[in-house]
């Protein structure tokens, strides 16, 4: 019987694949790597591509698309930590900028509401002063 290893493909949003395999091909950043059981321990970044798994006792390759991520290889366990979307430094940067803009927008609205609160406080103060004035006038008469 052929030697096998366990392969898990997980993403942050859920498990994608889990099973026993005889061989797997993984799209590492610096070129595709083929993994057989008892491979030396390796950690690599992935580029978008397909992970192909040769399942135990079958000649067919099952392919699973990953849009990047990491792979950790141990002699009998392969773990693919897949990303669910394309990652790139500039895309991430743009997203970070968006998040900052949203925060600034929230703060802008804050000024409005602070102004409103301040106006309300001033109004209350003014009415209190007016009431006091009225009272004093009455007493003077």
């Amino acid at each position: 019987m052929a030697m096998t290893m366990h392969i898990d493909i997980v993403s942050a949003e859920g498990e994608i694949y889990s099973g026993t395999a005889e061989e797997a091909f993984i799209p590492a950043e610096m070129g595709e790597i083929g993994v057989l059981p008892r491979h030396t321990p390796l950690i690599a970044r992935l580029k978008p591509g397909e992970v192909r798994v040769k399942k135990e006792g079958s000649d067919d390759l099952e392919s699973i698309f990953v849009s990047g991520g990491m792979v950790e290889i141990q002699p009998h366990v392969v773990t693919v930590l897949a990303d669910t979307g394309i990652r790139a430094a500039d895309i991430d940067e743009a997203k970070a900028l968006e998040a900052k803009e949203r925060a600034e927008e929230a703060l802008k609205n804050q000024e409005d509401s602070i102004d409103y609160a301040r106006a309300k406080a001033e109004l209350i103060e003014a009415t209190a002063q007016l009431a006091l004035l009225k009272k004093m006038r009455k007493n003077l008469r």
Binding site: L42, I43, A96, A99
Partner: protein, 286 residues
């Protein structure tokens, strides 16, 4: 008979409200089930990641990644996860209370705070209380990790640049469908759980190199923790809403029962009065 008519309209309107709250309860119950499944589905990723990071840290004791080293906290970043909508009982308020407690403790020690707000309730509540550096809301029932990357990156960049010295996450913990508990956890520095069972560790081959690999891993790890928090918060929201709406429906039922008693009394009184009027009228004629 005017009283009886008014009571009847009131009963009807309460009945309508009850129908709405019942419907919301059922919707929340089914959404909660799905949210719980999603919550479970996110667990293997973070778990696997933690294992790998543990291995790495063991294999490379000499290399200290910035995320793993303790700094003096002069300024902290806080990520607060809330819901987008209300009608979920005290869920958000309890969370905000816990957050304010933590914030005021830091402030007492002269620590400055940068806030990162997830969910429109947190935005509405905290925007006046501190320095908000990032915000996101309306992630929907099925959030995607891509939507969170930017928000988390703002905080991670701040940590890299030394603008913040540690990063905390304030979230709701799903204990069961009746109980949710606010929880404040430290994300960075990553609290290393020194597991002694890892005795036969090994070094890896790295592609491209160990530093970059660790960078990418830790970034994804923090993101996945925040994502988990968001997914868990949805499960909390739905179950809190389910409980709140069940209480509302029950209360509406009680109100209707009481009003029905009053209504019947009013009706009976009117009938009695009418009979006595007829009888006295007949007596006067006779």
């Amino acid at each position: 008979m005017a009283g009886a008519k008014e009571i009847r309209t009131q009963i009807k309107s309460i009945g309508n409200t009850q129908k709405i709250t019942k419907a919301m309860e059922m919707v929340a119950a089914s959404k909660m089930r799905r949210a719980k499944e999603r919550m479970e589905a996110t667990k293997p990723y973070a778990h696997k990641m933690k294992n790998v990071i543990g291995h790495l840290a063991m294999a490379h004791p000499e290399y200290k990644h910035p995320f793993l080293e303790e700094r003096d906290a002069k300024r902290v970043g806080v990520i607060i996860i809330s819901t987008d909508r209300g009608l979920c009982g005290g869920l958000n308020i309890n969370l905000f209370k816990a957050a304010i407690n933590a914030l005021s403790e830091w402030e007492e020690h002269g620590v400055e705070i940068d806030l990162c707000l997830i969910g429109s309730k947190a935005e509405a509540f905290f925007k006046r209380m501190g320095n908000v550096v990032a915000a996101i809301n309306h992630l929907g029932d099925t959030p995607h990790i891509e939507d969170l990357i930017g928000t988390v990156k703002v905080m991670l960049d701040a940590y890299y640049d030394g603008r913040i010295d540690s990063l905390y996450l304030v979230e709701n913990e799903f204990i069961n469908s009746m109980t949710q508990k606010p929880k404040v956890t430290k994300l960075i520095p990553v609290v290393s759980t020194e597991e002694k069972e890892l005795e036969h560790y090994w070094d890896y081959l790295y592609e491209p190199d160990s530093k970059e690999v660790l960078d990418a891993l830790l970034m994804r790890y923090i993101e996945s923790l925040v994502y988990q928090g968001v997914v868990e918060n949805i499960a909390c929201e739905q179950s809190a809403r389910m409980v709140a709406m069940k209480a509302a429906s029950d209360n509406a039922g009680d109100l209707i029962d009481e009003l029905k008693l009053v209504y019947n009394k009013a009706r009976q009184a009117a009938i009695t009065q009418e009979i006595s009027e007829i009888v006295s009228g007949a007596a006067a004629v006779g």
